[in-house]
Symmetry: C2
Subunit: 453 residues, 2 copies
């Protein structure tokens, strides 16, 4: 075991390939909602370039990372792996805790790992504009950043509740030259339909996704770029876990438990899948814990079914744990986790017993975030506090059991744009939002009919 507290890699150690869990775990194909048949690459070309469509449906284990993408990754990658000695001391745990810190990216989260890749392939294919949704704004900022680097216009539909909670996120996108509007907006038919039914609608990732898809489908120069859920997004995020494995080797250590927050699943998949890949290839087993919000408990309360990724039903049908595509989660602060569904790859991993899930209340998560900030320095994003709270529970279990396990968690981003949420927590005005069970039941009753409906 190493006495060191930080494990850094060199630019040349940025992975040269992405790892694809779909090569090792059977994942049901996305279905065409009209025909019920598996979608094809051609089906996806109206909204994404061929290279990304092929990655979305691909089954190769290793996908080469273009040189230009690796060059831009070097703006912040490899990201550091820290031993959380301060947190260990506070918890007085025998566990060794590490965190992989993705907040060193220019926008402060892991999202640029796929934003850079998607902007690259879109630029190569001649696209001029990208449309997308964003929750807390991490993804919208990331795509805006990537668009600036590649000279692509970016149009972001930001979930209205987050748009108002986090005004600096919009300013950050605009500084990169992008355009950001609150969703639901009156710019799309999907947005107008929802506003007509509920003018006060606080929005959701599903609604914002419908708006972005509608724009991309209606303009041949515009493509859609997704920040999570899709197979190619999780593929790109696999650099996180691959680097972590190399860094733990420097520490002469290997995890018993890998913890990450889970909203759409890209951060969890990015960190954990390379570990699962090693285990499936005969390497050491790890427990993987997905920490999701109790207010939007997709993995722990959702149904495994084919469902749409967006509210209006414009996406292919994805086989995933879902609360129903028409479900609008309550307005809690971890906007990036406020999504009705889950990445099909993560859902498949849960089904196969490769991962576990835990649902956490936001007040407990913010308490964990403050503990972490005061022990380790970084104020975490509200999403990331879910991973911290789950890690603390594991570390306290280790203490109770007297076991010196190794826990690695993903610190997916910083909370610099989320400080009003911390203020609410610190002043005692933050409340836990129960999930709307009746709303979920109604949404699940409206699931599309498919082979397994």
């Amino acid at each position: 075991m190493s006495e060191r507290t930080k494990f850094v890699l060199d630019e040349k150690d940025i992975p040269t390939t992405w790892y694809n869990l779909a090569a090792d775990v059977a994942v049901p194909p996305h279905l065409h909602p009209g025909t019920g048949q598996p979608i094809t690459v051609d089906d996806l070309l109206p909204i994404m370039p061929r290279a990304l469509a092929e990655q979305e449906l691909g089954l190769e284990r290793e996908v080469p990372i273009p040189d230009r993408v690796r060059e831009l990754y070097a703006l912040w990658r490899p990201s550091p792996l820290h031993r959380a000695r301060g947190l260990e001391r506070v918890l007085d745990t025998p566990a060794r805790i590490y965190y992989k810190y993705e907040g060193v990216s220019p926008v402060g989260s892991h999202k640029p790992n796929t934003a850079i890749a998607q902007a690259y392939y879109n630029k190569e294919a001649g696209a001029e504009r990208l449309a997308t949704e964003t929750g807390a704004g991490q993804w919208g900022s990331s795509l805006s950043f990537a668009g600036a680097l590649f000279g692509l216009d970016v149009q972001v539909y930001m979930v209205k509740v987050s748009f108002h909670q986090k005004p600096y996120r919009k300013l950050l996108m605009e500084t990169y030259g992008a355009r950001c509007v609150a969703s639901p907006s009156d710019e799309t038919a999907a947005g107008r339909r929802i506003l007509a039914a509920d003018p006060e609608c606080s929005g959701s990732l599903g609604i914002a996704t419908s708006e972005a898809l509608e724009v991309a489908m209606g303009d041949p120069r515009t493509n859609y770029a997704g920040g999570s859920v899709l197979n190619h997004v999780l593929l790109h995020q696999s650099v996180i876990g691959q680097e972590t494995i190399a860094q733990l080797a420097l520490a002469d250590d290997y995890p018993d438990v890998v913890v990450a927050c889970a909203g759409g699943g890209s951060n969890l998949g990015g960190l954990a899948f390379p570990f699962l890949g090693k285990a499936l290839a005969g390497g050491p087993k790890v427990r993987v814990v997905a920490a999701e919000p109790a207010a939007c408990p997709t993995l722990t309360q959702g149904r495994l079914a084919f469902d749409f990724g967006d509210t209006a039903g414009l996406t292919p049908l994805l086989r995933m744990h879902t609360l129903g595509h028409s479900y609008v989660p309550p307005s809690f602060h971890a906007g990036g986790l406020r999504y009705h569904g889950m990445a099909p790859l993560v859902s498949a991993a849960l089904t196969e017993g490769l991962i576990e899930a835990v649902a956490l209340e936001q007040t407990r998560c913010f308490a964990a975030g403050v503990t972490f900030a005061r022990a380790e320095g970084v104020v975490p994003a509200p999403e990331s506090t879910h991973a911290i709270e789950a890690t603390i529970r594991e570390a306290l279990r280790c203490k109770a059991e007297g076991r010196a396990e190794t826990i690695v968690f993903g610190l997916s981003g910083f909370g610099h744009f989320d400080l009003s949420a911390y203020e609410a927590y610190l002043t005692g005005s933050l409340r836990d939002e129960p999930y709307d069970q009746a709303g979920v039941e109604a949404a699940l009753a409206g699931l599309p009919e498919t082979v397994d409906a």
Copy 2:
């Protein structure tokens, strides 16, 4: 010359000593305002621990960095050195541009380099609380972060104009458990006196410093902690330049020009002094360019004189370039540069011809900041945009002259808490503030009488 774009060092490469320019350049001693005699270590003990007082007056070239400080530096150090290939492309310059990025610290600037050290020595000496001033909030956040790590209470007086411009900075300090109030406040005699004369006073670093000093002097459990100007602060910041030298060796390169923004001088001194030390020891010469705001042009328009570091006249007299300690600069956005004086070490370096200075308008600096953000990804702090604008001018000079010089600049922090200033720039409402020449003349007429008055 290397093809690489990032130069990283390992935890073990964190410097083991701080470099002290006072060993190599004659710096007039601070004077006791009552006696006109050089101050002693004992004179400083009411506001700081002996170790820091000895560093303030010390002339040793190398000062050992305590192990615990190096251990906490590893939370973010060594910071990366980047080759700014994107910016080079945009400028189409033959110059090689590098930036040392201090924004990877948990609070987003170089300030924790001294905050950690000061908190360490204060904790060792038994202090229970630290009082300080802050402009844009980078320093106050940093001391709050360091206080949390060491279990010290922190009380921050934040310049009122910045307090209102950057509300998230206060929330960040509170998340670390610190207390932050707008200055001038009614909590101190100095603050009450100024509010009585001008209830609308927007504050200044000089005023906030007076408030913090008054609190520290009035409570034996409380010490003062300064974020810039003082010799020991610049000493601690020398880790920046030392790391940069090691990283440039990895790049097989060495600068012709080193550029940094200058407010109180800690970022400039931290980056540039180790290069000056090498040159003074017979190594290669470098040009050092201090980029200061045209609205507060201390180095280019100030007078070299003994003056107080604060408005109320509580500090020792410092031999420095000053606009007069009673001068209140106009309210521009780079709050960290909004200070009437300059570090005595930086002033001595200017006097000795070791550095140059240039004064820059804020609209040009924000334009440079946006160019940088879209080319390199990081949205810089308003302070740091001054270094970028000065760098761009040097790079364009290289282009005009056809010279492939090497330029290294300090990217002292990110602008995540300053996005409302970017909004003002992007929407065209940002104006350049001329400095108040009559106000400076009046303030200079009120300089304290000393040997050289």
